[in-house]
């Protein structure tokens, strides 16, 4: 997280620290699901992409319930039973993060408390959270000032209109033919240093639903061109509600 602040315990109780192919983030859904980005499991251009999901599940580390990485490690890993990668995600296409969403099922449900609570999913009919300028928070254990963070940080970012994202992308892609699909949205600032960065992938972009008073995950940290140099791109969770519910509710 660039330009953010240190989170206090209980600010982002859904925040997960993942260690699958490097540091990543995730968000607790219910009491045994972790929502994350697919590329934290299968990195673009990664060398381990032929490893099976079962093997990855065994090797995956999931930490929950604290803002400090060391404390998280002390609290212990939550083993993963199964991994679900969205079928649209293509790890071999380095320029297309479409379908960058995954679910991890924990072997054991976690006990919720002040420092460990799930995040809500958006109402399928409510698109207002993606309106231009709608502020949200992103938290993560990712890079801060070129250093991997030892504690949870967060930053407040506005959602950006789709055409502005595309326009900025068209002008700033620096020769990288990145795909900006309808399953993504971008957020952040053109100027300033507030942004997400490496290691934050998989963490969620959350907004406060003022009607219900609940925090809702609208996006998953997915990709960006550099850090703090423009908008960041997020997986648009609203478009994957059916996929998520299809897995989570079927299993219930």
């Amino acid at each position: 997280i660039l330009g953010g602040k240190a989170a206090r315990r209980g600010n982002f109780p859904w925040q997960a620290l993942t260690g699958i192919n490097g540091r990543g983030g995730g968000a607790l859904l219910g009491d045994r699901w972790i929502l994350t980005a697919a590329h934290t499991i299968f990195p673009k251009g990664g060398v381990q992409n032929n490893v099976s999901l079962e093997q990855l599940a065994e090797e995956a580390d999931i930490f929950l319930g604290h803002t400090n990485v060391d404390e998280l490690h002390k609290m212990g890993n939550h083993p993963v039973r199964r991994i679900f990668i969205h079928p649209d995600f293509n790890p071999n296409d380095e320029h297309n993060f479409n379908g960058d969403i995954a679910l991890l099922e924990l072997k054991n449900p976690v006990t919720l408390g002040p420092t460990l609570l799930p995040i809500c999913l958006p109402d399928a009919t409510n698109t207002s959270f993606y309106a231009h300028g709608h502020m949200g928070y992103v938290s993560g254990f990712g890079v801060d000032k070129n250093r991997i963070s030892s504690s949870l940080k967060y930053v407040s970012l506005p959602a950006v209109a789709q055409e502005k994202c595309q326009s900025w992308l068209d002008s700033n892609k620096k020769g990288i033919p990145m795909v900006f699909s309808e399953n993504m949205f971008c957020a952040g600032f053109l100027e300033g240093k507030k942004d997400t960065c490496q290691g934050d992938s998989g963490s969620v972009f959350t907004v406060l639903d003022r009607e219900s008073g609940r925090w809702v995950a609208t996006g998953i940290v997915s990709w960006g061109i550099g850090c703090g140099t423009g908008y960041g791109f997020y997986t648009k969770i609203l478009n994957y509600l059916d996929w998520i519910n299809g897995i989570v509710k079927e299993d219930r």
């Binding site: 982002f12 002040p114 609570l117 999913l121 609940r214 925090w215």
Partner: protein
């Protein structure tokens, strides 16, 4: 003595000495006629010609039978002196007849010797009616038969009234009451000759045998008379009653016992008498009904006896249940149902169960939640109520339409208000951090 045929002929003749020639003087001849047993002797004179004299003082024939003199005879047919037998028939009551012939030293009348030819007698055996009490001969002084006498040619036999048996002496009769068996559901039995005095030396045994499950009741009729003694209990005659080998009582006197409920389908009545007495005996009317079982008594206030009846008899059954919320228990064993049958021996085939309050056991634990008892005392018994709750604010409860309250049901399970067993769930509460980010600086 003149000879008579040996043995016991059925007929024969007796002649005076020298007959048909005149009999000799100074002669004594004796004949003992004996016919077969069962016959009497019938004697008649075919010819009779003896010196006549007053009272047959000189010559005569004397006839004896049955230790009696049947007469002393002499004379000639039509003579005015003497005692001519004529056509008289002499009949003995016994099988013997004794004849004696006596002649004196002469048969002269005024110096003239008169040849008297003597006599020719014939006898034959005649059937003796031994059954006629008037015919009691010297050998038959006692009654011929105790009950009935039947004469036949050459003999007689005795028989007894119904219920009596002719004894080995072929004369006396004794009551046969040693194995009287009664198998009807009701009936009468009495001492021999009742209401006339009962005989001596009785050993009567009356057995009532009815099918299992029946109970015999005995009721004594009037008169009731059995020899007794004021100081000693039944020293002479006894009426003993047993039921299935169990002694019920020994009775005598003039006061009949009350109605005796034997509670048994097998009763034995033994009547023993001594050699004397003049009591009229007894008579019993016995009846039977199905044997009764004792009234069932509930062991607790929660027991229900279906269709409780004032009396339970053999083959009746009862169905026992418990009030709602209680289980039938036999020891530590829970019974699905209970039926007891009244047995043939008047006992119930299994003892009364008890009713124990239903215990639903500990309620299921609610993951990420808990339950609490809503009633005192807090237990898991019938009608206890619990309420589930979740650990808020992290979880919220999801219940069926029956809500979060569960009641211990009569079936021993915790049920919600819709009668469902499924307990609520505690679902995570999302998006409600206890300590959300609060931006103060603007």
């Amino acid at each position: 003595s003149s000879p008579v045929p040996r043995g016991s002929p059925l007929f024969g003749e007796i002649r005076s000495p020298n007959y048909p020639k005149p009999y000799p003087n100074n002669n004594i001849s004796i004949w003992d006629i004996q016919v077969p047993k069962g016959y009497g002797v019938k004697l008649t004179f075919k010819y009779f010609d003896l010196e006549p004299s007053e009272s047959c003082f000189y010559d005569y024939v004397k006839i004896k039978a049955d230790k009696r003199d049947l007469g002393r005879y002499c004379g000639q047919l039509g003579s005015t002196t003497g005692n001519h037998p004529g056509r008289k028939e002499f009949v003995s009551k016994g099988r013997k007849m004794h004849l004696e012939f006596h002649s004196d030293f002469s048969n002269e009348d005024n110096g003239t010797v008169i040849p008297y030819r003597g006599f020719l007698a014939s006898y034959r055996a005649v059937d003796l009616d031994e059954c006629d009490p008037n015919n009691a001969a010297e050998n038959y002084e006692r009654p011929q038969c105790q009950h009935f006498c039947h004469n036949y040619v050459g003999g007689y036999f005795c028989s007894c009234r119904i219920g009596y048996q002719l004894q080995s002496d072929q004369h006396s009769c004794k009551v046969e009451c040693s194995s009287e068996l009664f198998t009807e559901a009701s009936g009468y039995l009495s001492s021999p000759e009742y209401p006339q005095p009962y005989p001596e030396y009785l050993r009567c045994n009356y057995s009532i045998r009815l099918q299992k499950g029946l109970s015999i009741a005995l009721r004594f009729l009037e008169p009731f008379e059995i020899d007794d003694h004021q100081q000693v209990h039944c020293p002479y005659d006894q009426l003993k009653i047993q039921a299935r080998g169990r002694e019920i009582g020994e009775f005598c006197g003039r006061e009949p016992p009350g109605i005796i409920e034997t509670n048994s389908n097998e009763v034995d009545i033994l009547f023993l008498t001594d050699d004397s007495g003049f009591s009229r005996g007894w008579k019993i009317h016995y009846t039977s009904e199905k044997i009764r079982c004792p009234q069932l008594v509930p062991r607790d206030q929660f027991t229900i006896i279906r269709d409780l009846q004032p009396v339970y008899q053999f083959q009746d059954y009862v169905v026992v249940s418990c009030k709602t919320g209680y289980n039938l228990m036999e020891g530590d064993k829970k019974l699905v149902s209970f039926t007891a049958v009244c047995q043939a021996d008047g006992t119930w085939h299994q003892p009364m169960p008890r009713c124990e309050v239903v215990n639903c056991g500990s309620p299921k634990n609610l993951t990420n939640g808990a339950f609490s008892y809503l009633k005192e005392p807090a237990n898991n018994e019938y009608q206890s109520v619990i309420s589930y709750r979740c650990h808020e604010p992290y979880y919220h409860i999801v219940t069926g339409t029956g809500g979060e309250r569960f009641t211990c049901s009569p079936e021993g399970t915790w049920l919600d208000q819709d009668g469902q067993k499924r307990i609520p769930s505690c679902l995570p509460v999302c998006g409600k951090p206890v300590h959300p980010v609060v931006e103060v600086q603007r």
